[in-house]
């Protein structure tokens, strides 16, 4: 459903992605792995059209989107849950979530989507009137994911959802991602928690300094010596 081909992205004169190709099929969880500064966030931003594409193509459900405005890509069904959560800190939790249903196609179903999110995250439901900035990191991450789900996306892109969370909350987070996927949403997951990401992923890509250096199914990656050494510490 999503196909990225020979993508190049630069911030001004500084190129950060070279010749990146990647494919996500409907129903998959695809893990995007790699060290700090490898370019994972930049790749997601290129797909959500919040950074300009220098070369290459991005095709979503047969439509080229590499020159489309971000609002159009959201309308087509891409939800990008950014690194660092990026909630609107002075708005209530519920207002944060409601804005997730901003795309026209999602508005009519906003109330049912809200019920779905509250059922998935009961702790968020308890805090719906609270100002988002007052929540704990784990709760904020749930709101950020919930906001992404509010648009009923066909593909959910998560950028390091486990970053800065306590181990117990991290486990919960991965379980949540697995559940969202099981309920029908395709997931592209950026993670540095390689082991846990590969536990739930169908396939993965490894990015190093702006290039895809290896890719394969979960079993292939878990079986590769390089990956075991570099990312799993075995």
């Amino acid at each position: 459903m999503l196909e990225v081909t020979e993508l190049a992205v630069a911030y001004g004169d500084v190129q950060v992605l070279w010749d990146v190709s990647l494919r996500v099929e409907r129903g998959e969880i695809v893990a995007l792995l790699g060290a700090n500064g490898a370019g994972k966030t930049t790749l997601l931003r290129a797909i959500s059209r919040t950074v300009p594409v220098r070369a290459g193509t991005i095709v979503l459900e047969g439509e080229r989107i590499d020159r489309s405005p971000s609002a159009h890509v959201v309308e087509l069904g891409v939800a990008h849950v950014p690194e660092g959560r990026r909630l609107w800190p002075d708005m209530s939790v519920e207002d944060n979530l409601r804005l997730g249903a901003y795309p026209r196609r999602a508005r009519a179903g906003a109330s049912s989507a809200l019920d779905y999110v509250y059922a998935m995250f009961p702790r968020v439901a308890d805090r719906r009137r609270q100002i988002a900035g007052t929540l704990s990191g784990g709760e904020q991450q749930m709101v950020a994911i919930g906001r992404g789900l509010m648009s009923k996306p066909s593909i959910l892109m998560l950028d390091e959802p486990s970053l800065g969370l306590a181990p117990i909350v991290v486990a919960e987070m991965f379980e949540t991602v697995r559940r969202i996927n099981a309920e029908g949403t395709t997931v592209l997951l950026v993670e540095q928690n390689v082991r846990q990401a590969l536990e739930i992923a169908t396939r993965g890509y490894v990015v190093e300094t702006g290039r895809v250096v290896s890719s394969g199914t979960r079993e292939e990656l878990l079986g590769s010596d390089e990956i075991r050494k570099a990312y799993l510490g075995l």
């Binding site: 950014p82 804005l99 100002i131």
Partner: protein, 279 residues
């Protein structure tokens, strides 16, 4: 006075919140709102209370077009560039007013403007009550718009985190045009209200604009609720202040408040409360 102060300051706060620029032309649009009200009245016999029905949509369109054509080009430049641009817009508006309406002092004289009511032995000027009520009404309407509608929420989201707004599908460029248009419409509306209370010349609005800056600094530059608090605080400070000092020094009060707040509470009242709440 609080209602009036609020009406002339929301626009400034809204534009700053969403576009992160300070609308130095605010005074120009206040002045223009007053003149247009006067001109509609003297030339077309349109009652000054009806003038906002024309002024608000016309000023919105003008503000929106101004953002599209000029302001947008300087948004990513250094702040001084947008300050200069909007200062330039102010000068142009002022000079246009001199050309069209000359420098003579104008005022609106209708029975309504002179009317008073007697409330428990107190003589109250009707236009003042009206201006206060309209200011409060617009505050409430704006607050409802910003909290209850998708477009209003998108405006707040853009003010708080532009990139996050993009990620939920908000067309941030469009929102900025609309926010600027609303800001200018509010200034025009404020000017129209002012024309019921004061006489004016093309220089009109300069001292009032200082008060607007004081209010938004008091309230926190990007908060509509803060503007309401700030307006009330300044109106009260002035009301008390004039008891102890000559009226000619009244404008000094806002300046003193401005300096004190900038030093003591650089985030404004609401910003400070929020920071405390967030811990």
């Amino acid at each position: 006075m609080a209602g009036l102060y609020a009406a002339m300051s929301y626009g400034l706060a809204l534009i700053y919140g969403v576009l992160k620029i300070i609308n130095l032309a605010n005074a120009g649009f206040l002045m223009l709102g007053a003149y247009v009200t006067w001109w509609l009245f003297t030339s077309y016999h349109i009652h000054p209370l009806l003038a906002p029905l024309l002024i608000v949509p016309a000023f919105f369109l003008f503000g929106w077009a101004l953002e599209r054509t000029l302001v947008r080009r300087v948004l990513s430049a250094e702040p001084i560039i947008s300050l200069l641009l909007l200062f330039g817009v102010w000068l142009v508006l002022q000079n246009l007013a001199y050309v069209i309406w000359t420098g003579d002092t104008r005022s609106i004289e209708t029975p309504f403007v002179e009317a008073t009511v007697n409330a428990g032995g107190l003589q109250l000027a009707v236009p003042r009550l009206y201006v206060f009520a309209m200011g409060a009404l617009v505050l409430i309407a704006l607050q409802l718009f910003l909290t209850r509608t998708y477009l209003g929420r998108a405006i707040r989201a853009t003010a708080q985190d532009r990139d996050a707004a993009r990620l939920v599908g908000v067309d941030v460029d469009r929102v900025m045009g609309i926010a600027f248009g609303i800001g200018i419409a509010l200034a025009g509306f404020g000017g129209s209200l002012l024309s019921l209370l004061f006489s004016f010349t093309p220089d009109f609005g300069r001292a009032l604009s200082l008060k607007s800056f004081c209010i938004v600094v008091l309230g926190g530059l990007d908060s509509i609720v803060g503007v309401a608090f700030g307006s009330l605080a300044l109106a009260l400070a002035e009301a008390f202040g004039v008891r102890y000092m000559p009226a000619s020094l009244q404008n000094l009060i806002s300046f003193v408040v401005l300096v004190v707040v900038l030093i003591a509470l650089p985030r404004g009242i609401v910003g400070t409360v929020r920071a405390l709440r967030r811990g």
